[in-house]
Symmetry: C2
DNA sequence: CCGGATCCTTATAGATACTG
DNA sequence: CAGTATCTATAAGGATCCGG
């Protein structure tokens, strides 16, 4: 169980923290929010985590029913980790945490930038407040080498966004995590990034602009 | 800064955890959600926390702008800690965490039960889904010795619930944390608890029943 | 009595090397 | 690739002590 035997309090918050509050555990879960990952993938996305700690966390998270271990069918045969339904229910927790964290004045601008973090930002801050544009339906393939994601917008709503291998979509966006972050935050534009070779769009560029425009940071009331 | 210099990632979630994710920090914040507290109060509500750790957390939380240190006017003159506006914005995070934690099969039934934890449960799980009863307006004084809370319901909405010293309300509810937990979860009834001397209601008992009935645990979709 | 600071012990994380 | 083993560095737990 949690840190030092846990908080030992009858409190939903304390209990949740006993389960998923240990160091690195939330970030392991964050990495799995976009789809299954192998041990080495997790290790690469979480620079600084000790292998023994990663092993321990995966074992703990599996034991409490948040993560599931699975073997990919041959010939791959690799061992992968994925969120269970119970783990996926943590989505509101991460969204709330991200909404609070992104408004921090101390939010770091340097450090490791994982592709997952940026793509999760896209998912978290996709504007759900405004009335959706029912004319907007498209599928996107987002390439942040070596990662590939697939996003679906149906009638103005982001209905799906996850890591994907089978790449079939209306639009293909090829860039990197840093450039995507700048595009989403407004510090970079589609034409400029394209001219600079930091962004390659295959398909309707207007659809891409539309996707980036749909991302809004939360204001105080949320 | 956070644990071991923090995660050093450009990610809102990782940053939020750097700020408030350390051991005990979330529980310190939880204690302050219902109003200001003194050092010793916090120590009593958080059994097991080392004084050095509590000092350190309060200093850290003050530095990042989540907690504010203040001196009560004479003759009290005691030093109290309270959430800043920025700290209060963590409300959605705690609500989401509580909603997830309360549905855990491993949720402990034994351990320390703080009055704050139960009262926060009342606030978190006060049913906001159903259409509010506009005829229901009342103020409650909730005594869980030695704590006193004040709750306000305005036209079916819980508009305020915090620790309070000046006790003025329509109804006074006197009980203890354990009994209140059972009353809210449905394991105990108002008449039975009253008969057993675990609950003393001064004022309209119907209003009390109404308050307890308004608390609903979240279902999977939340 | 309140608000801590200090000291010692122990648990856990970080780093690196190594193995099935 | 998927971890385990080992060593070291930190931070937490717990008791005690001290100044206002």
């Amino acid at each position: 169980m949690g840190v030092r035997g846990g908080y030992r309090q009858i409190c939903p918050v304390a209990h949740a923290l006993d389960l998923i509050g240990e160091r690195w555990a939330p970030l392991v879960i964050r990495e799995l929010r976009l789809g299954p990952r192998r041990y080495v993938d997790l290790q690469r996305s979480l620079p600084g985590i000790a292998p023994s700690v990663l092993s321990q966390r995966l074992r703990d998270l599996e034991e409490i029913g948040v993560v599931q271990r699975r073997l990919l069918p041959p010939p791959a045969g690799s061992r992968i980790y994925q969120l269970t339904a119970r783990g996926a229910e943590l989505e509101p927790v991460f969204n709330a945490l991200a909404a609070w964290g992104v408004r921090s004045p101390a939010m770091p601008t340097t450090g490791d930038l994982s592709s997952d973090a940026v793509v999760l930002g896209l998912r978290t801050f996709f504007d759900t407040e405004a009335e959706p544009d029912t004319n907007w339906t498209a599928s996107y393939e987002l390439r942040l080498p070596p990662e590939v994601y697939r996003a679906s917008v149906e009638r103005g709503r982001l209905t799906d966004l996850r890591r994907a291998e089978p790449p079939v979509a209306d639009v293909v966006i090829e860039t990197d995590a840093q450039a995507l972050l700048e595009l989403l935050s407004g510090a970079e534009t589609v034409p400029a990034a394209t001219a600079a070779g930091r962004l390659v769009v295959t398909g309707d560029a207007g659809l891409v602009q539309r996707l980036f425009d749909a991302v809004r940071k939360p204001s105080a009331t949320r």
